[in-house]
Amino acid sequence: MLEADGNQWERGQSMKRSGLVSVVMALGLIACVGSGALAQVSIAIPIEQSGAGAVVGLRWIRGVEMAVADINKAGGILGKKVETFTLDTKTEPPVAVAAVRKAVESKPFVIMGPIYSGSALACMGVSRDAGIPQFVGSESPNIGKQNNANIFMTTNNSENATSMVVDWLTNVVKVKKMGIVYANNDFGKAGRDALMKLLQPKGVQFVADIAAEQGQTSFSGEISRIKAGAPDSLFVYLNEEESARALRQIKEAGLDKQMRLIGSTTLMNVDVIRLAKDAVNGVEGFIGETYAAPAYKTLNDRYVAQFKELPDHNFFKAYMGMMTVKAVVDETKSFDQQKFRDTLHNNTLCVKDHPEILMDVHYLENGDLERPGFVVKVVNQEHTIVNALTPLHPEWFSKCK
């Protein structure tokens, strides 16, 4: 028998508490603003606190708040204490727009969130109009394609991520016939398109190209189609819960013994591992941020000690995003938001200059970033690094050596 989960229930209580704390903090912030006590830097976190994205939202909040605690402990940014307040986007784009609209009224220095691509795309115009830089946790390349100079990613977009693993897929995995099952949403379609665009010119044949719905429960039909196509590798590009369900049913059908199971970030997420248990063993693919990487070890240990669970990539993204804010302000020595944007665009931040950012990072003109990533394999329900991947443009990182 599988083991059941009990700590999710307890984490639910923790989410409720964190929601209440956020309300209290928001009220506190409003009180401070009202009383003219502006010696702080305010950070707005419009984020998924309920709905489908509640779990990733919680980890994002933890990432920003742990970074803020570290910053404040070290004396703040340019001597100013950092304060945060959260707003719930309910994982719905229209609510995300309203949340960001509400956030800009408080005139924060930056906005950290949301994560879901649909929400980010919907609300990014609001922060641009207000002139407040916005960091999002999304992975869709469509965000960068909007050419919104105000938006900044916190991880490699899915197109970059796929580009980084193309060599591994063609030379190491030696994929010839690939099947793909992808989420029929902005995230899934972008990943699927990028994969096909990059692999088809290399002679990879896509023998099964299957869209799955968000919240889908049964994958029996999809599995039959995959079987019929007989690929040597199956790329699973689904959100976390659907990934877990699909993996369990794939294992049940014995497909894991017939083909390599490959994915990108979500497929190896800690929640997928928790839900799919041994069905996730053997899965491999690209992940931008993993607790198994030496660069993240100290932060991982702190997270585990504090929250009694492993952190996912959203936590690391949020932490590094917040630390990037500090690094840029430290460089510009000012809270001028235009200067902030100009400095971060087409710029590389190095760990040797800013140890708090954990990994070297380069920001492009459109807000996309490049950062080293990893190929991991799940062994005994844990990440094992197979390969450390260099960014697509190593020349941008030459100053970090």
Binding site: M1, L2, E3, A4, D5, G6, Q8, W9, E10, R11, G12, M15, K16, S50, G51, A52, A54, V55, N184, I210, A211, A212, E213, G215, T217, S218, S220, G221, E222, S224, R225, K227, A228, E241, A244, R245, R248, Q249, E252, A253, G254, D271, R274, L275, K277
Partner: protein
């Protein structure tokens, strides 16, 4: 591939059929359609996790307690509150109220339990099985067997037991049944309680495969509703046929046509049934 798909389709359809039976029972006895039926599956699933994982109650007892609490909450309490208050006003206020109830349950579980998906173990070990070239899971077989036992058991109870016969009498002609001395209110209570137990059994089968989550009832409730319409809202055996058909259509469409249209094909069948046999495939015309 076909035998494998048939087993998968029947396994999925068996879950739909049990929930659809609940729709039919309630309609027959009370002329009400419960649009919170999906959440009636979610609630016992959460109760099972609460008893088993949070309160560390032994597995069989956790399921039993969940079924009992579900019967009390979704049967007795539901009847004594919303049903008694709304039954005289007809179906529409009840439909609107149960839609609202469904949203309330989801929000309540999200805020006071968890928005995360949770694992719940199955009663049988999940092992791959092979038969006549078909590969399937022990869970598929288990679902079909349990659903068959529960459906046959409920059918036997309705046909052979005294309360079951009274339930049938109310379903066929409530006024005549009341004149004959049958307490129609008690029969409605019985129908809601059976519905709750069916939903709880469905939850115990669905949870290990699809995981326990606040919105797990969305798809299950909707598909069971389609199944009840396709099979015939006024016949329990119609719900059985409808459930199995919906499961099979979904799986076969996904495998042979396109995964994108699997829900669409179910809806096409639904529309065809409404157009050409509005009482459902096994349903009878109502006056």
């Amino acid at each position: 591939m076909l035998p494998e798909l048939l087993i998968k389709g029947l396994s999925l359809g068996a879950i739909y059929a049990m929930i659809a039976m609940g729709f039919c029972l309630l309609w027959q006895t009370s002329r009400l359609v419960n649009f919170a039926e999906g959440e009636f599956v979610t609630i016992p699933a959460f109760l099972m996790v609460m008893f088993y994982s949070v309160l560390a109650v032994p597995y069989p007892l956790a399921i039993l307690f969940a079924i009992l609490v579900a019967a009390l909450l979704l049967g007795v309490v539901m009847k004594k509150t919303l049903v008694d208050a709304l039954i005289t006003r007809g179906n529409t206020p009840f439909v609107v109220t149960t839609i609202a109830l469904g949203f309330f349950v989801k929000d309540f579980l999200t805020v006071f339990a968890t928005p995360e998906a949770m694992n719940f173990p199955s009663m049988v070990r999940q092992t791959p099985l092979h038969f006549a070239g078909a590969a399937f899971s022990s869970l598929d077989l288990w679902n079909i067997v349990i659903a068959a036992v529960v459906i046959l058991g409920v059918g036997f109870f309705i046909r052979k037991s005294k309360p079951g016969k009274a339930l049938q009498a109310v379903a066929q002609n409530r006024e005549a049944a009341v004149i004959m001395g049958i307490d129609a209110q008690k029969m409605i209570l019985l129908a809601f309680s059976i519905n709750a137990v069916l939903a709880a059994f469905s939850a115990s089968l669905a949870a290990p495969i699809y995981m326990v989550k606040y919105d797990m009832g969305n798809e299950l409730g909707l598909k069971a509703f389609y199944a009840a319409i396709i099979g015939g809202f006024n016949q329990v055996r119609g719900a059985l046929l409808g459930g199995l058909l919906v499961g099979l259509i979904e799986i076969l469409t996904a495998a042979y046509i396109s995964t994108k249209y699997k829900s669409g094909f179910v809806l096409l069948v639904l529309i065809a049934v409404i157009l050409f046999k509005p009482e459902g495939l096994l349903g009878t015309k109502e006056q």
